[in-house]
Symmetry: C2
Subunit: 122 residues, 2 copies
């Protein structure tokens, strides 16, 4: 597999990261995702990392970058399914993922994005 | 990675198959999915195979089995994101996936499950 699939769910995009990513794959994901946000007129991005047992600083930085790019394209990013051990590692690495919202699971993340949309249009 | 994540989306479960599965992984997926259908009281299962460039008879049979098990647990299965080449291979292998519904993408598959639910409760 050379790229991570991006699934459209209504007005949002869902990315499930299941494999350890190397540099090239991460770059491809950033490019695919930003162009999909524009072509699908997505208003939010959900990134599920429930499969990842380890998140290193490379992946942490990539998630931060994706959230920053999505924000510039007027889409919110919610990171879902983080394991407790991953949260510990990220803080120990000094990565607080400022600007990235998190939720327990996809259901809750979706709700968060819907509420954010409602506030925006209110 | 030893298991494929199962994401809960409202009353449905979503499985995104991104990697080539070996026997053990397929067995784990069947076990995980059937128990999740019961514990989450799921009414439908979406299986996304948009990442798969090749589907062999092993994966084809597994998808058929999952749909059969889900049906016994009163949940419908919709297979989404099949590539044209995969459809050709499956028919050439003599696997028509009888009893498995298909949809172009997750959005359309979700709509199909929602309509099926509505008819059921009507």
């Amino acid at each position: 597999m050379d790229r991570i699939p991006i699934l459209k769910m209504g007005r949002f995009l869902l990315v499930t990261i299941q494999v350890d990513m190397h540099d090239e794959m991460a770059m491809t994901l950033q490019e695919d995702l930003t162009s999909r946000i524009v072509t699908d007129r997505a208003q939010g991005v959900l990134i599920d990392i429930s499969s990842l047992e380890i998140v290193d600083s490379f992946i942490g930085r990539m998630i931060g970058n994706i959230a920053g790019m999505a924000r510039l394209l007027d889409a919110e990013t919610v990171l879902v399914g983080m394991r407790p051990a991953v949260a510990i590692t990220l803080v120990e690495l000094g990565m607080s993922l400022a600007g990235v919202r998190t939720a327990l699971n996809v259901d809750k993340g979706m709700l968060m994005l819907q509420n954010a949309q409602r506030e925006k249009s209110a």
